[in-house]
Amino acid sequence: MRFLILVPGNEQSEAGVLPDEKIFIEMNRYNEELVNAGVMLAAHGLHPTSKGAKVKFSGGKRTIIDGPFTEAKELIAGFWLIEVKSKEEAIEWVKRAPFDGGVEIEIRQVQEAEDLGDALPEEVRLAEQRMSAQMAAQRQQRK
């Protein structure tokens, strides 16, 4: 199963200031550990929200809101995507990360198609079946 590990931003990351060398080296080491253990699928740091934007939807209207964003809880500075056997394993990996100072790292499981299963609306499931049938028919025609 896959987990998204979300790293919150702070004043420093919002100012576009890179962490100091010591943290950089530690983080690099940690990333290497994840790669060498074969669990890392992807990882990225994000630019400050000043380089981002939001699109707001209301009543058929789309409004563009340019960054920076002000609400602290909305700030995300980076993420990892890892593949592990259990939530506990994801937690154990995150516990090894070199963070400090009260920072809270969020661990979220990525939904897979199978997880949707019965929750998939009937229309969507039927549409999928129709699509499969349509594709099968197209194949027959090609033969």
Partner: protein, 420 residues
């Protein structure tokens, strides 16, 4: 709470066990003993952590505990006048306190892990033993998990592992990297074990479930670990590329009622683009290291041709046929030849493919291989020879041990009968 703690212990085990066993094996010089010491430490963790919580440095805790057990073992053996004396000196000389495991030099751990890989896949062991030992020692799987994955009784797996460890001890297999002249061959055998595990997950040879994604993930994880241990070996990247790209299709390979969906019928929108990108990057690494024509890199290149085609009809079959030509020359086998026939049929028409298939009819290795009649049936059907096609599909259905596949083949036989 107790269950949570147990799951936490299992998670730590999965992360730490390979390094733990590898580190211990270097100290005691015997993988079997190292594994038992590590298991003792695991039992201690299961007893203590539910009360005390998971320690700050669980890897160091396990290592410290295992080392204490090692010292106990040595003392006991000394009393009984047995061996291990030389070991005793080394261990006693070390501090009894838990060493700073985390601070141990990464290279050293890497070397130990690599020794462990080569030992688990040592040529004195049977293939089955190599698979079981690799999953157990490197993958951190329990005997129960291995048994479930391979649909064999737990006792069988336990026996295999016990015997394998005994074989290693009796053959005095040293806990060392293979000597340079043997390295290439030994590495090939390691890759073979990993790919075997992957294939057992990707195309289960028996049972109701023809795919066991968990086993594919285990193999992929092992492959990625190997790529980190021997990053200069192109074929390791080739194997990882192959497994990443094949895994990218696993969601699309299963139809709504659990049936197998063939490659060209798959909804490519369900292919995992992340794994495809990772696979293509790994293939690039293999090629950058001069390994474009290694057997795994070639197979990965074939898989990449499919991965790059947005629609089935966009597939570059001529390139795939050429890659199979190269593969057939490098590693000739009836199975490769059969695959080449499929590619040639797609690139140059079913008659050209059928010619190759027919040359395989007397191949004894394919006598009970259901894919031979299955492919032959497909080509005959395309040529409008439905009567012959039906007989081939029926034969293929009678040969496969896999239920969903059998149903698919029977369906095709019935379809041919209608047209015949």
């Amino acid at each position: 709470m107790a269950i949570d703690a147990q799951r936490a212990v299992e998670a730590v085990w999965r992360i730490e066990s390979a390094r733990l066993i590898a580190g211990l094996a270097r100290i005691v010089g015997d993988v079997g003993v190292a594994e038992e010491l590590a298991q003792d430490a695991l039992v201690a963790a299961l007893e203590q952590w539910p009360e005390s919580g998971v320690p700050e440095k669980p890897g160091a805790w396990l290592m410290g505990t295992a080392k204490h057990r090692a010292i106990d073992l040595i003392r006991r053996n000394q009393r009984l006048g047995r061996k291990y004396e030389e070991l005793g000196h080394e261990l006693m000389a070390q501090e009894l306190e838990a060493p700073d495991f985390e601070a141990a030099v990464d290279d050293e751990i890497g070397d130990d892990l690599l020794r462990l890989v080569f030992t688990a896949c040592h040529p004195v062991l049977s293939t089955e033993a190599r698979v079981a030992l690799t999953l157990r020692l490197l993958g951190g799987l329990t005997s129960e998990e291995i048994a479930r994955a391979f649909l064999v009784p737990v006792a069988t797996v336990q026996q295999r592992i016990v015997r394998a460890k005994r074989t290693l001890t009796e053959a005095h297999v040293p806990f060392e990297l293979p000597p340079t002249p043997e390295l290439a061959e030994r590495l090939a055998s390691v890759l073979e074990v990993v790919y075997l595990i992957f294939n057992e997950g990707y195309a289960a040879t028996a049972g109701d479930d023809w795919m066991r994604p968990g086993l594919c993930e285990d193999a992929l994880r092992l492959g990625r670990i190997l790529a980190g241990l021997v990053p200069d070996e192109p074929e390791v990247h080739g194997l990882v590329a192959l497994m990443e790209i094949q895994s990218s299709r696993s969601r699309a390979r299963k139809g709504p009622s659990g049936e197998m969906v063939l490659l060209l019928d798959q909804d490519r929108g369900r292919w995992d683009q992340l794994l495809i990108r990772r696979g293509l990057a790994a293939l690039q690494r293999a090629e950058d290291r001069g390994g474009a024509f290694g057997p795994y890199a070639l197979q990965a290149a074939i898989a990449a041709c499919h991965a790059r085609a947005r629609r089935g009809e966009d597939t570059d079959w001529k390139r795939i046929a050429a890659l199979y030509d190269a593969l057939a020359e490098l590693a000739p086998s009836p199975v490769v030849e059969l695959n080449r026939a499929v590619a040639v049929a797609m690139a140059f028409g079913p008659a050209a493919g059928l010619e190759i298939v027919d040359s395989l009819a007397t191949e004894p290795a394919l006598g009970a291989y259901h894919l031979l009649p299955s492919v032959r049936g497909d080509l005959l059907a395309k040529l409008g020879r439905h009567g012959e096609a039906r007989a081939e599909f029926e034969r293929a259905a009678s040969l496969t041990r896999n239920e969903p596949e059998r149903r698919l083949l029977q369906k095709r036989a019935a379809a041919s009968a209608e047209r015949g």
